[in-house]
């Protein structure tokens, strides 16, 4: 028979003591292990060097870290969602970050910076029927490339290259730069704002951009 708890019961039991609290924690741990295992099932490519037993152990370890995070953050739970949905996100965040970083464990920031593929863009060769569109796309790319070179700070250029052009997961970049996700996202946001303003100063709005590229899809 399913053991159902309302949000209120979860909070009451996790804030109580003795066997009631222990039982709630064990049930919560089980749910978090399921969430971590689900995450790893979806990211098996990141864990290619791990056996099923090792992946299960990783799920238990991540669930334990998530359990600690849930209990530490319990006072901030406002009841705007199901308690379980709120708790699952900690397990998924920790597990997914772990999986992404595992995949990139052998690669360093220095190695990525040494790559020659700085802001490489591969536009397919178009037929003459697409000549106007090809010229327009080239014009847009030139504006963007010039703005990347002249308008962005060194840090903004670096995270843009790594996250957008090299497709390095943000959590890996965060680790390489000894930073945090908010700070890296802010760098990307500021870079996008500058590039958008540059496009607008050349007369390109979002509608023109969508129209320009819709034709090629």
């Amino acid at each position: 028979m399913a053991i159902l708890r309302t949000n209120q019961v979860w909070l009451q039991e996790l804030r109580s003591s003795g066997e009631v609290r222990n039982a709630a924690i064990e049930d919560l741990r089980g749910l978090l292990i399921r969430a971590a295992s689900f995450t790893f099932q979806r990211t098996l490519g990141d864990l290619a060097n791990y056996s099923p037993e090792e992946i299960h152990q990783l799920a238990e370890d991540c669930a334990q870290d998530a359990l600690i995070a849930v209990l530490e953050n319990l006072p901030s739970f406002r009841g705007d969602s199901k308690f379980t949905t709120w708790a699952y996100k900690f397990a998924i965040n920790i597990s997914l970050t772990m999986a992404r970083r595992e995949r990139w464990r052998e690669i360093s920031l220095d190695q990525m910076e040494d790559r020659a593929s700085e802001f490489g863009l591969l536009f397919a060769d178009k037929s003459t029927a697409d000549l106007d569109r090809t010229i327009l796309h080239g014009e847009i790319w030139e504006i963007i490339a010039e703005a990347i070179r002249s308008e962005l700070t060194e840090k903004q250029r670096l995270v843009l290259k790594l996250v957008i052009f090299d497709e390095v997961p943000m959590d890996v970049v965060v680790q390489w730069m000894n930073s945090n996700r908010n700070a890296v996202y802010k760098l990307l946001h500021d870079a996008r704002r500058k590039l958008k303003h540059k496009m607008e100063s050349h007369g390109f709005g979002i509608d023109e951009i969508i129209d320009a590229f819709r034709a090629s899809e």
Binding site: T6, L96, Y185, K196
Partner: protein, 90 residues
């Protein structure tokens, strides 16, 4: 970057807003966003900002999609007879 990815990215650039919520703010609200979505509710206020953030941030979007899919999977498992999942029902 190939042309297809550039096409997607340049549209995200042009959809950039002057103010966007941070990844921490998105994490804070994503469980409410998922439950609202699965209940068929409408996004308003801060949840609209979550939707915008998820369109711009691959890291947060990956977590959101996993969370949404896991909640659905758990609800389906809970609805199946003979399970003993200790779920939640507010």
């Amino acid at each position: 970057m190939d042309e297809s990815k550039f096409t997607q990215w340049i549209q995200k650039v042009m959809a950039t807003e002057e103010e966007e919520i941070s990844c921490s703010e998105c994490f804070d609200l994503v469980s409410e966003y998922v439950d609202t979505e699965l209940a068929g509710g409408e996004f308003s206020g801060a949840l609209r900002q979550v939707g915008h953030h998820l369109n711009q941030c691959r890291a947060c979007r990956d977590e959101y999609e996993l969370l949404r899919d896991f909640v659905i999977a758990e609800e389906n498992a809970h609805d199946s007879p003979g399970n003993d999942s200790p779920g939640s029902n507010p």
